[in-house]
């Protein structure tokens, strides 16, 4: 019974195995990025970037139909353009990053909707917006795995300046010039992972597999290594449980994955060991010293 519900779908159906592989790769790359987004108070920036990718993907779609590479390339170009322009504007002017990003992403979202409305059916639009993790072909899977690998490698390179810049930016500026490049590279990684996610989850939900696990991790760990590990684990668990839920109930796969993550998030808010609600309402007795 348990076997039928939890394991059999993946043994019987190849598309389920592919979906699981995709969601694991997405978790490995996206969740650490999400932790940094959260710690740098950029969670909504990730959301904004996800919208910014839409017009690029739409242009790719306009030029060559539902072609994976065209849409990915378009999304990457649009995302990088918005990320880098917003980052540069924030660094050289008084405007904060969130404000400048809001401007750029609204403009590109408007552009994207315009482009999509020129050509394309509602089903195409749905595919772009919500993805389809159950329709992974070899190529898509390889692209996702490749991007996840690149993400982890690059994150390892910029890890130290990124951490120091998050905790004490003035210090980093006095010892090194690595701060600005690290920040821009980090934004690029955000874009790579959003584009990566939209194959599976669509432009609107791709950011969910990055941000929600990070939020979950915050309630279970006090140090950044632990947070990243927990975020990756909870992303994988959400992905797996979401796929099972989707298979058994016909809930669309993308939303199912994000809903499971949201459920884990609620549980963490309530029962988390680090300042969870219950822990705060019924605190353990204070210590002697």
């Amino acid at each position: 019974m348990v076997y039928d519900a939890l394991i059999a779908p993946f043994i019987e159906f190849e598309f389920m195995r592919r979906a699981l592989a995709a969601v694991i790769a997405l978790s490995l790359g996206g969740a650490p990025i999400g932790v940094f987004l959260m710690l740098r108070r950029m969670s909504l920036v990730g959301d904004a970037m996800a919208h910014a990718i839409l017009p690029g993907a739409a242009i790719g779609f306009l030029l060559s139909g539902l072609n994976l590479f065209a849409m990915t390339a378009g999304g990457l170009i649009a995302g990088f353009t918005v990320a880098i322009l917003a980052g540069v504007v924030a660094r050289i002017t008084e405007l904060k990053e969130d404000a400048s990003l809001a401007t750029f992403y609204l403009a590109s979202l408007a552009l994207g909707v315009t482009i999509v409305s020129i050509k394309g059916t509602n089903i195409d639009l749905l595919h772009v917006l919500f993805g389809n993790i159950l329709a992974m072909d070899d190529q898509t899977l390889l692209v996702i795995a490749f991007n996840a690998t690149i993400t982890l490698a690059v994150l390892a390179v910029i890890y130290r300046p990124l951490v120091i810049e998050s905790v004490d930016p003035v210090f980093l500026r006095t010892v090194s010039r690595a701060g600005a490049p690290a920040h821009l590279v980090f934004l690029a990684l955000v874009v790579v992972n959003l584009v990566n996610g939209f194959q599976a989850l669509g432009t609107l939900l791709a950011v969910g597999l990055m941000i929600l696990p990070a939020g979950i991790a915050r309630f279970w760990s006090r140090d950044i290594t632990g947070m990243i590990s927990i975020a990756v684990a909870s992303a994988i668990v959400s992905g797996y449980a979401g796929l099972v839920l989707s298979f058994q109930t016909r809930v669309p796969s993308g939303p199912a994955i994000i809903l499971v993550a949201a459920l884990l998030y609620v549980v963490s808010v309530l029962f988390g060991s680090v300042r969870g609600v219950i822990r705060q309402m019924f605190p353990a007795p204070h210590l002697e010293a």
Partner: protein
């Protein structure tokens, strides 16, 4: 006397030279036409009323604020040879990082982007923590520290930076007597090690007792020299008369025009 001065000049190389430096924000000067030298190994207090430009001067010195005019020469110091302790440390205290790791960032000069923290480096970090009286705090998150402990931790990082020039912006503000005495002892130690130390301070008694040289700043230089000569009643009164507010309709500085023509 003259001979003595000449001897000093030969012996003491200038670590810092301010050449007609103007620093500020949006063209408004916060430090106006400052010229002077700091010899290597000096222990210099920078005093002045709020808004006198002490922090601005330090920001210019460590290279996070570009001068509006003039130059600051640091006699071959790399940015890594300068340790800077800002006034309101711009630190995200909610960030999940331990005291040990945070202080360890002071080793940036040795480790850079990728260098590992080996056993020797660990020993150094432990030593720095014990020097500031924070042994046993290694695994605490930085968010759990009190204000005084935070300042001790920042001093530990400065200690690890092993810098030839140390710039401390109001290091003893809101710190109890015990902590400031401990940290002041570290400053004395740095001075003994022939490092150049600049500190912005408000406590005149402390400056008189521990700092041989003083720069009294009130946007421009009011007085600069040995502490006893600088901290006179007249000088302090003159510094206090400085007007703090920017004048939005101020004309371009005439001295600038002259110097640019001369150049």
């Amino acid at each position: 006397m003259g001979v003595c001065l000449a001897f000093d000049e030969v012996k003491m190389a200038a670590q810092l030279q301010f050449r007609d430096v103007t620093l500020g924000y949006d063209r408004h000067p916060a430090v106006h036409h400052l010229s002077g030298e700091v010899t290597a190994g000096a222990l210099l207090a920078v005093v002045g009323p709020n808004g006198a430009g002490k922090s601005t001067l330090f920001r210019g010195l460590v290279g996070i604020l570009r001068p509006l005019a003039g130059t600051i020469l640091t006699a071959g110091l790399d940015t890594r040879d300068i340790a800077y302790l800002p006034q309101t440390a711009d630190i995200d205290r909610s960030f999940p990082i331990s005291v040990f790791d945070f202080v360890g960032t002071g080793l940036w000069r040795q480790t850079g982007l990728f260098g590992g923290i080996g056993r020797e480096a660990r020993g150094k970090i432990e030593k720095a923590l014990s020097a500031v009286g924070l042994s046993g705090f290694e695994n605490r998150g930085i968010g759990t520290l009190s204000g005084g402990q935070m300042q001790r931790m920042l001093f530990a990082r400065v200690l690890l930076q092993d810098a030839r020039l140390i710039v401390l912006d109001e290091p003893f503000n809101a710190i109890d007597a015990k902590t400031s005495a401990d940290l002041l002892a570290l400053v004395g130690q740095w001075h003994a090690e022939k490092r150049t130390v600049l500190a912005a301070l408000h406590d005149m008694e402390l400056v008189r007792a521990h700092f041989p040289e003083t720069l009294l700043l009130a946007r421009g230089q009011v007085a600069w020299g040995s502490t006893a000569d600088v901290l006179t009643t007249e000088n302090l009164l003159e510094a206090r008369r400085m007007c703090e507010a920017f004048d939005d309709s101020a004309a371009a500085c005439a001295v600038d025009d002259k110097t640019s023509q001369a150049a």
